[in-house]
């Protein structure tokens, strides 16, 4: 005897296509085109921040840096759908979400410039800082959500990571526990097709990353991550589900990493320029601009004003960043523990002596 034990389906969502055409319909929030302008502005700001940061790295003023070029719609769509009370659990390429939520450009630069102060940000104080060890932030989101659930707060944890991160056991274990405990979490995967040099198809035989949700018995879906409207809309739905006690959702946002992996990488070693050029035609900023222009809420003048405003902001931030006084070396020791153990205190003294203080 053979029977069907289970069936599943994964859907794909898009409103705004690569040509900026939204004629297949829009969700309510986006029907007034003006509503999209803040999202557009945030995407442009992120792009300029990234551009400058890469330039700063090249001239030795910043450490290794991971640009989000071409993936700005994911973070902006996610963050704009969240409330301030929700908690963002970012990866290392989610500056667009962090900036939207209130992390300042200076803080962002400070972090990538090599100072822990960048993670002591004024943005939502309850948000988690950048997480470098890939995949390790998924369980945090489940833990954050557990706190919300325990206190019966209508808040949601949103965790972001890349396609590579979906290969880590942490991803699966976190989805699984969130599923069985019905935790208010949204898992957002920025599938930018590359994990450094490892292409999406070498990362997993799964046809979609969204279907990995099926392993945890939770809903999963795929969307065009270059369409900020789709991101906003589907994340909003997932947040609502989570807030209503219906549990977690996995969202796979399909994008493309238009830049090198980081400033330490040279992508020409492992991928063809042609492929990259092809994907430039789908990038999120231009398509939204095309749409806004077609809707007559955006024009060249506004664009120029925005660009110059963004550049000013970034210039000011860069200046502030470069003017930051170094932390005293005591900072290495002072927040290791709430109460400084004798050993640490002794070592602090040694370090001060060694530094000639």
């Amino acid at each position: 005897m053979k029977k069907t034990a289970f069936t599943a389906e994964i859907s794909f969502h898009r409103y705004l296509d690569a040509d900026g055409d939204a004629s297949s319909g829009l969700p309510a929030f986006a029907t007034k085109a003006e509503a999209l302008i803040p999202l557009y502005e945030a995407m442009v700001l992120t792009r300029i921040v990234d551009e400058r940061a890469v330039a700063m790295q090249r001239t030795g003023r910043l450490g290794t840096y991971a640009s989000s070029l071409g993936q700005e719609a994911v973070g902006v769509g996610v963050a704009s759908a969240m409330t301030e009370d929700d908690v963002l659990v970012p990866g290392f390429r989610d500056q667009s979400a962090q900036l939207w939520r209130g992390v300042s450009i200076v803080e962002h630069l400070a972090y990538w410039g090599g100072s822990e102060r960048g993670s002591n940000f004024a943005g939502p104080r309850h948000d988690l800082p950048v997480s470098i060890p890939v995949g390790t932030n998924f369980p945090h989101a489940a833990g954050v959500a557990l706190a919300f659930k325990r206190r019966e707060e209508k808040r949601v944890a949103v965790v972001m990571a890349g396609d590579g991160a979906t290969s880590k056991g942490d991803f699966y274990e976190a989805m699984n526990i969130a599923g069985v405990w019905k935790l208010p979490v949204v898992f957002v995967i920025n599938n930018n097709q590359w994990a450094i040099s490892v292409a999406r198809a070498e990362q997993t035989a799964a046809e979609t990353l969204a279907q990995k949700a099926i392993a945890a018995g939770i809903p999963g879906e795929q969307l065009d991550g270059n369409d900020v409207i789709a991101v906003w809309d589907r994340v909003t739905t997932a947040l609502d589900r989570a807030r209503n006690g219906e549990g977690p959702t996995l969202i796979e946002a399909i994008t493309y990493r238009l830049s090198d992996h980081t400033t330490a990488d040279d992508a020409s070693r492992y991928r063809e320029d042609d492929q990259v050029r092809g994907h430039w035609k789908e990038e999120p900023v231009a398509r939204l601009r095309t749409y806004l222009a077609a809707q007559k809420v955006w024009d060249k003048q506004k664009e120029e004003a925005l660009l110059s405003d963004c550049r000013d902001k970034v210039d000011a931030a860069m200046e502030e960043y470069e003017a930051m006084l170094p932390e005293p070396l005591e900072a290495i020791f002072d927040s290791t523990y709430a109460e400084m153990p004798a050993d640490v205190a002794a070592q602090r003294a040694t370090a001060l002596t060694a530094a000639g203080d």
């Binding site: 822990e116 993670s119 557990l146 659930k149 325990r150 274990e173 526990i177 004798a342 050993d343």
Partner: protein, 326 residues
Amino acid sequence: MPEVTLVEAVRMALSRAMEDDERVVILGEDVGIDGGVFRATDGLIQRFGSSRVLDTPLSEAVIAGVAVGAATQDLRPVAEIQFMGFVYPAIDQIVNHAGRLRTRTRGRLTCPMVLRAPYGGGIHAPEHHSESVEAMLTHVPGIRVVIPSTPAKAYGLLLAAIRNPDPVVFLEPKRLYRTGKEQVEDNGEALPLDKAFIAREGSDLTLIAWGAMMKETLEAAAQLAEEGVDAEVLDLATLKPLDQAAILASVEKTGRAVIVHEAALTGGYGGEIAARIAEHGLLSLIAPVRRVTGYDTVIPLPKLEHHYLPSVDRVLTAAREVMTYA
């Protein structure tokens, strides 16, 4: 005052902490209706409900990671790893997150969590159920590593661990879970998390141990007393941060030190202690610092295990030998 075993004292501390602080939650494999495979959490789910006592799926990495995440948002998770041999998948979260959160956010976020695990051999357990790798954890900045050796210490130290604003790894000597009882008052009083205890005062040599090995060490001290050797016995209790002052004070008095632990010699925590003595107490040393430890081999299965674990005799041999120096 109730007479309790060590595992009962653990349970008493957990109950008390949950009673006192709504933010305390327990999570781990089989901690709920089963009460934990050693019954350390017996009755807690009935008393505090399944929103505070959570059976997890079988996934140690996520147990630790969930605890980290929850701790950042004002819960006080007490996570259980069923046996120390299964702690390895949790180490990533302990090193890369729990121990770092405070300093990497310059105090913005903190990680007040406890990771409990029974450790050690001598209970004729299956493979992978007898490990004591406390040394690996003592190397991790930002955390505390605590190992009680008696019911009273288990109670007071575990309360302290749960109340501590930083992550604490709390390792329980499962060989001693039920071997003795002690009067422990459930008075909510915590013990300090940076102090070694003098388990026996003496003047001729210092025996340093912790956890399950306190048993053999104290027995050896009693035997030595009969031989006219007056051993001081230090129970480290908190391995990290190390109470260096207590060690040095004792060695200054006695001039001789023997360190006892059941973990393998090389890279074991005995090395750290001997190093502290060699660095800061050298001038008071009369004799070489000896370590009586497990061997640099995998801890054997039960049939040969007794040859591996430091015995009273091995402690005595080392003690007598250091006594030959004058």
